[in-house]
Symmetry: C2
């Protein structure tokens, strides 16, 4: 408990440090040519990109400094030093550090799309190895209604490692595709981080308290440095966070989910990202034509955002794409206008869906609404996790 207090104090220092470091380094980013122009603003000033690397580095260094404190009491008793827990923490930090490096390289060098799937897989290798060595528990507990068919638990063996590798890929990319307006990537990550911390604190009195302590050791410094980043990334953004930030955040959540054994609960905190992903699938997999950018459309005259749209020639649509558009349109989940030869639909992202429902709105109001939706989904996640889980599982998820 004392170590958590020290960690919180250390994290507050990390917050202040990150907050001061970001504006100082911004100029270096611009000088190095790592900058972008904010497409939803009238001013065309250069805004540093990939600044997530700064908060990521401070997060990492804070975690390094914290190692002797976590293991301080154990060091007195060197005979029984928990080498396996120590290896877990090192593997977690190694995966995050690796993701930070690869994310930054991606931002600077602008790697191709396929790398975005390969890199998180590579970075999760140390994690999988330590999981194999320390736990190697590849058993899923079967929900009660299915037990008559499958038994109480199923050992899926090697598939479990595939699942964990894919979790890292999913978490990193899910945040990356729910992005594009000021403060959204960082805002959603802050809410997910707070959700995990609340969950940890609730479970701290349970029998899995060690796993939740481990999770807190990673999440608290992550939250502190990310809050400092949010301050500078919030509307109007002074810095952009880059893929670096999405990679590091996704990997951090995946690491905590895997090593603390609550990966399914972590996924529950990703409901908006999952909705966005499922909603995006028809365009991502080119079942429905997809433009290069699906960002909302900014009107300089009104300073408002509205949903961006894609015009599709009708003869380019096949049976499947017609079916999807028909169903979504009947459910009012897409806005469709039509003439003889073509139809126009909004681009299928959660951001555009919100814009359809809200009408043209300011960027900051849109971000706040999406944040509120994320908070609502966290509440639903806790409802699923606590009262409802007991219907499906006699033990905890």
């Amino acid at each position: 408990m004392l170590s958590l207090i020290i960690l919180t104090a250390l994290s507050i220092i990390a917050y202040v440090f990150t907050d001061e470091l970001i504006p100082k380094l911004s100029e270096l980013f611009i000088k190095a040519g790592i900058y972008g122009i904010d497409l939803c603003k009238t001013s065309k000033e250069k805004i540093p990109e990939a600044v997530g690397v700064v908060s990521g580095c401070v997060f990492l260094v804070t975690s390094f400094l914290f190692i002797p404190i976590v293991f301080g009491s154990s060091l007195m008793n060197r005979e029984h030093f928990p080498h396996n827990e120590f290896a877990e923490l090192l593997a977690a930090l190694l995966s995050i550090c690796c993701m930070l490096l690869l994310g930054f390289a991606d931002d600077v060098l602008d790697l191709r799309w396929r790398y975005k799937l390969i890199l998180p897989t590579i970075a999760s290798l140390p994690l999988l190895v330590v999981y194999y060595v320390n736990f190697n528990s590849t058993t899923f507990i079967v929900p009660i209604p299915l037990r008559q068919f499958l038994g109480a638990s199923v050992n899926i063996g090697f598939l479990y490692y595939i699942y964990m590798g894919m979790l890292a890929v999913f978490c990193t990319n899910a945040i990356n595709i729910l992005a594009g307006i000021n403060g959204l990537e960082v805002g959603q990550s802050v809410i997910i981080a707070i959700s995990i911390i609340v969950f940890d604190v609730i479970e701290l009195r349970g029998d899995q308290y060690k796993a939740h302590c481990f999770s807190l050791h990673i999440m608290i410094p992550y939250l502190a440095t990310t809050l400092a980043l949010l301050k500078h990334n919030w509307y109007p953004s002074k810095v952009f966070v880059g893929d670096t930030f999405c990679y590091v955040s996704g990997m951090t959540f995946a690491v905590v989910g895997i090593l603390s054994h609550f990966s399914k609960t972590v996924l529950l905190f990703f409901i908006p990202q999952i909705i966005n992903f499922v909603y995006s699938v028809p365009q991502l997999f080119h079942i429905i034509p997809c433009p290069r950018h699906r960002l909302p459309k900014y009107s300089a005259e009104t300073d408002l955002l509205q949903a961006s749209r894609t015009l599709i020639v009708k003869k380019d649509l096949n049976f499947l794409s017609n079916l999807i558009i028909g169903i979504l349109s009947n459910l009012s989940l897409i806005e469709k206008t039509e003439d003889d030869v073509s139809i126009t639909i909004n681009n299928m992202t959660l951001i555009n869906l919100f814009l359809i429902k809200l009408g043209p709105t300011t960027e900051v109001r849109l971000t706040i609404f999406l944040m509120l939706f994320q908070i609502l989904c966290t509440c639903i996640a806790f409802l699923i996790r606590y009262p409802m889980a007991s219907y499906f599982y006699d033990t905890k998820i």
Copy 2:
């Protein structure tokens, strides 16, 4: 032993992969604005910088893939899994990964000089922590002639950690300042790596075979990826390696020295770097005026290099600087010309010293001579390490 054979095979694949990846990614580096112009060539084409990050990443990934193989036999016997050795390897990779990230950030963002000292210190933190946890042996064995004053061994406690932190700083910067001509940074690192590998192989039959196995697990993939880099960095360079490479190399040598307990032997393989550092001290610390660049001077007409020189007004010299110049000049270690108001001396780097002795020469010949000198010093190091050490120590260093 089997694991070493598999590692060698895996490292050969890593060599081929790095060799193919470097030219493929070169274009991305240039597009991202990370390039330099070779000052010792007539053609002014753009040459990608910081390509050490590519070989570094492949080195890291090879080491990840290799973890299950190293610990494969131990995994069968999960009860007695060597968690402490596993933590050591993870800490080593974490320090190297961290250095790769910080080095690349330095190359891209062009950080100030003071960061060059801070960054390796930060990156060596995980290493120091694992050393504290696993060994915490801070005892120096005293050479026999001094034992009557100090006793057989001295426990220097906290100072030992300062020594290890400084070792990382020294190794990274020592390679960084013996640089500037095609292939030199990578060439010297290859020779140091081979020296360490030879030393490991000799000691593999000794009682410290585990520590030397650990060292080989890191050095073999390092050597393979670095050789691939050397192929592209050798005269005439198609790529530059950047500070990234010097940082990663220095940290790799420091890691191996610290965790395998032969840091003093590693330092013996750094004789040319130590000579270069000591020779540079008067200019580095501005006792003697130092120009911004001390690279050799290239003559486009002859395509030869000659020592670069600095003109110093006599009244800028104080007693100490006059003394140093006097002594070095008498020892023929600097070339001095003089008139009534000023003197001109060569810039004090090992490269310029070689140019004074060799006379104007081609870049590739100069690199080869410096490589030969490095090899000669390695032979001297082995002489010191084996026949001579027994005069000073009854046990091994």
